[in-house]
Amino acid sequence: MKIHEYQARTILRGRGVPVPRFEVVTDPAEARRVAEEIGGMVVVKAQVHVGGRGKAGGVKLANTPEEAEQHARNILGMDIKGLTVHKVMVAHAVDIEREYYVGIVVDRATKGPVFMVSSEGGVDIESVAAETPEKIFKLPIDPVQGLTVSQAAQLAAHLDDRVEVVGQVAPVVTKLYNAFVASDASLAEINPLVVSPDGKVWAVDAKMNIDDNALFRHPEIAAMRDSADESDELRKAREMGLSFVKLDGNVGCVVNGAGLAMTTMDLIKFYGGEPANFLDIGGSSSPEKVMTAFDIITSDPNVRVILLNIFGGITRCDDVAEGLIEALEARPLSLPLVVRLTGTNETRARQILAEHGMESAQTMDEVVEKAVAMARGQA
């Protein structure tokens, strides 16, 4: 789960990381009040779960409370990559001398957390990783032992050579690590970690993603979920236990299992089509899940055909076929449907579908070719 910048700031501040003073507000007058209280220059930042807020005009500096109010008025209600801004953060704008990057991610290869620091802060770290990887210093951490004092010092020393700065940065990386572990984060980063001209260190921007699987032990974090930032489709999918990713094509697909779902997308592309989505209804397949999946897909105006691809393992194909027919009779589909059921009892499944004027393709190739042709209007 992604949390907002202001929420990540709150978590880090609670752990003693120096964070410039801030408040989150939902109307322009409030923004003015906060700017007055903070005094001096402030930054007004849109709080939405999307990158590139700055480029989209969602981040503005204000010299006066009036300016802060004006920026807030502009930003609130703004649409950034499909998401409406409902909250802005008003924060003290720290003077910047240097900007660093410090972050922790889960590393698959070392099977533990890995610290990444870079003296090239304040910019997109993925670009740095791609273009000048030598500028990122990585340090794998033993998850059982945790971050040691000497590792914290090593990370800090990598960023700055001034003793008084290192002396401030080392506790910050330690606190960041502790926040990472204590919050079950999958990513925790401060970008930029700023050194101001007076030699003070500030966490000016913070980002944390939380491990969905661990939310059960963090009810206070789970409560941070901002449903306003979730599309109707995503909410529906999440509530039904479906895994859904919207794409730009016109062949909707409903598949059981993530690997098979990706493979179905790939085959659509292979046969010259474009998938409209990734949608995994899970290993087994209940009619309810299939119908919810259809609902989600039909709400996308681009979609021209729906492809259902199910491997019947423990759940048998004939049962899936019957559930499907019943569901379709209760609530007919507004889009053409092509079906392929394979695995346990597929012959019987094909027979059941045939009795109801439907058919199941024999192979995945066959059904995908057909779906692609239909999306093009050739079938």
Binding site: R108, P113, V144, D184, D211, A214, G257, M262, G343, T344
Partner: protein, 290 residues
Amino acid sequence: MSIYIDERTRVCVQGITGRDGSFHTGAMIEYGTHVVSGVTPGKGGQTRGGVPVFNTVHEAVSETGANATIVFVPAKFAADAAIEAAESGVELVVVITEGVPTLDAMRLYQRTKQLGVRLLGPNCPGLISPGKAKLGIMPGAIHTRGKVGVVSRSGTLTYEVVDSLRRGGIGQSTVIGIGGDPIIGTTFIDTLEAFEKDEGTTAVVLIGEIGGTDEEQAAKFIKEHMSKPVVGFIAGRTAPPGRRMGHAGAIIAGGKGTAEDKIEALSDAGVPVADRPSEIPGLLRATLGR
């Protein structure tokens, strides 16, 4: 022959009295798997289909000589249950449970590594040596005894490939699902190494997907250490970056983990990569025909 499990494997089911544990214990036993005991704290002394239930894995191991466990314990407690198993002296711990917190999986991985215990999963379908034993949730009937090893990060995609192998008359030595989580115990390299050593395996099918660099590392291993032919498949060629495709591990992040990288690495290692699952039996026949 087969890897990791065979007819001598003695299985303890952790979480045997739960909904999934009980159901799959029945299925594993019906398949012919040697399920000797189960564990559910507080339910020791009961039985499930004739299988004695113990309060701890230690008891289950010392009373019934289990040398492998399969974990159906709920996600909150799964890692601790699996660590208990690893500390009890079993050789193999298969964690079926989905949704294990990543930090727990890290702790679990480190502990099994320290103890030299093989960990499969978490969040995996398990493994099956057809005709010998099944420690998992896959439908036993689609598998047939044979000489091709299959290793995969996926569930139903693996069933699909196995089913097509069966239709093509190609049996399997062991089919193993390593799971789709970012932190997993047994990797492609581990299984490739085991298949390479296994006399009953003549070729391997590797089913990868986007995310991470496991396939690239596997390719390197194949190039340097494997004599047996390997055929590959990679799911997610069309997946956009930054979006998680179901599995927590299936995400192209930081420009890494793309299907192209993986396919290139495998091709470089002499592994033919099928564009579509339906090509796999043919590629395998061609490879075995060499």
